[in-house]
Symmetry: C2
Subunit: 358 residues, 2 copies
């Protein structure tokens, strides 16, 4: 029995899945492909084709369920209507929220997107943008990721902080964010504060820490090395916050307020505090960052600095599409700043007099 030469895929792509191609449609109508194409695309060239014929064409297209092959169209037009999105990790609340904002806008505008996650592996961070460009994406959105050198499609970085040519950065006003958090703690009466910095690879870590130091200076709060911890590890689990907080506590220095790098670590931190008998917020007030969905439903509900993540995604998509459709020479924004918001909930309170740990 003769085998087929190439054992190709079973579901070989037959002209965009249905069997109808422009050619077959044109033949069916007894017209040229060009005429049909003009009408289907409402091209200006269709003006010389009488309405009667146009109707005929459209009806036939509908009846035969003709759907133009997007690959062919992209190839010819040099327009793929496709964007590449690069995130550190998909299953993380942060990236997921940004992505949902991105998707909202992109799909509305008729674009689709590829997602890739690099899990902080350097070689993937380098390779994926190239692979995406090979896939003819018209632009790139990178989330919490430092883009390697140059890309030759328009790009937008959410929480990007490096000045890379061709990249628009969407960034939070970290100075304000730090002020909001510290002011809140100071207003409540806290003076001895502990801090948890982000992982070294997170693009927000440096900028935010600088902002925190500025804010601390402004409010006359001392930042002690003994009371400063840093998240370690690739994953995004409360466990990291839990571990840092344990270390922090082990050093013996007392504090009544804790400002964490994100809500996830705040959750872990609270766990660690509790295990040593400290109550939140009676003994220690905790301020998170991001305002992920579950922040409001922790026990106690998290006081946190809200980043408008969904909007940041939408702005990223919007900015990118504007850049893609704008004339090449038009200048593009280097940076777009969004504002944080303090959400006061149950994890912060005045320091109590009867705090045995203070």
């Amino acid at each position: 029995m003769p085998r087929p030469k190439s054992k190709g895929p079973s579901g070989a792509l037959k002209s965009a899945s249905s069997g109808v191609s422009l050619k077959s449609l044109a033949e069916h109508l007894g017209l040229s492909q060009a005429a049909v194409s003009f009408v289907i695309n409402r091209s200006p060239a269709a003006k010389s084709i009488p309405h009667r014929t146009q109707e005929l064409i459209r009806t036939a297209a509908r009846e035969l369920n003709y759907r133009p092959n997007h690959l062919a169209r992209s190839l010819r037009q040099q327009r793929s209507f496709t964007i590449g999105v690069v995130v550190p990790e998909i299953s993380e609340g942060y990236a997921a929220l940004v992505m949902s904002g991105i998707e909202d806008h992109l799909l509305q505008e008729g674009y689709f997107y590829f997602v890739v996650s690099h899990r902080h592996r350097a070689e993937l961070i380098e390779e994926y943008p190239l692979l995406l460009q090979q896939r003819a994406v018209e632009g790139l959105i990178v989330v919490d990721t430092v883009l390697a050198e140059s890309v030759d499609v328009p790009s937008v970085a959410v929480s990007g902080h490096r000045d890379v040519p061709g990249v628009t950065n969407i960034v939070l006003n970290h100075a304000r964010a730090a002020c909001l958090a510290l002011q809140h703690l100071v207003d409540l009466g806290h003076r001895r504060l502990a801090f948890i910095k982000g992982q070294a690879f997170s693009s927000d870590t440096e900028v935010r820490w600088e902002a925190v130091r500025e804010a601390a200076k402004k409010f006359g709060v001392e930042i002690k090395g003994q009371l400063t911890g840093q998240l370690e590890g690739e994953s995004s689990s409360p466990l990291l916050g839990y571990q840092v907080t344990q270390k922090l506590l082990a050093r013996g220095e007392t504090f009544t307020g804790l400002f964490t790098f994100n809500d996830i670590s705040a959750i872990g931190a609270i766990q660690a505090l509790r295990e040593t008998g400290r109550r939140v917020p009676e003994d220690v007030s905790v301020v998170g960052f991001d305002d992920i969905q579950s922040a409001a439903f922790q026990n106690p509900a998290l006081t946190t600095v809200r980043q408008p993540l969904r909007e940041m995604g939408m702005i990223a998509a919007e900015t990118l599409l504007r850049r893609i459709t704008a004339p090449a020479k038009a200048p593009y924004p280097k940076e777009i700043v969004v504002e944080p918001e303090l959400i006061v909930r149950g994890s912060t309170a005045r320091p109590s007099k009867s705090n045995e740990f203070a």
Copy 2:
């Protein structure tokens, strides 16, 4: 001043982003495109080309940084190496975890994927699979979504329960899941149990409820209508669980155990229980479902039935690729069952004697 006729995108796709096409590369080498293509693709036809020339070609390709245009290749080969993924919502823990499993396997195998989220809107559920097929995807993975009628590419449904031709269903062993949860509660000594069913649109809702009823019968537990609530609303927030639980409590019927549809709603439910002065687990034991990341870091930590979501995603991707590369006539699995696991944490305990609410 003459305007350009078509105001095309600024970053017009120049042959996969760098300026090098197969044609230019071939010219540079003084060879035919065919020869270069053979060598680049290590096609069997390259065997007649001496190693010396092959080296030359590969070196030139590397130096000029030639990257084949994936669109052109896909069009010619009728292989896009692209999959479509349909989820209800991206920013949801459930879908995000499944997606991360899907991505893992797909990218490893050289496939990219488009993601679309339909937010339970019927017209999108219908339209997206078609749009994706127009984009020449070679297969579809749908998550917690009932696929409209027929698709003409191989498809896999995660938590799909309808028997749709051409679709492989990846499902949890719900019978076992329900048994695990009920057995745990019964073993602890609970008899009066309340239940929260999933939203009507969730594809797991029906099957799981049937399984719960079976299990209840088996353990001799009565399911009272008064003690049965149902999640309502599109979004995926603890708020929904909070609201149902309030309604449940308002009916006045007492219970000591609560089995919720998912962890998210369990979190909301606990909040509602607390607000009426009930302690978890002392007064009411709560069992969640899914084991999302934050389940372990709730207070109390959630006892829950774990679904291996990431693995389900991986299995989905694996199964789909196998189907795509398999000969057309090969039979494909209609259903793949994965097993749940009971994770016992702090939200369940023996019912206390001193329960004023029981």
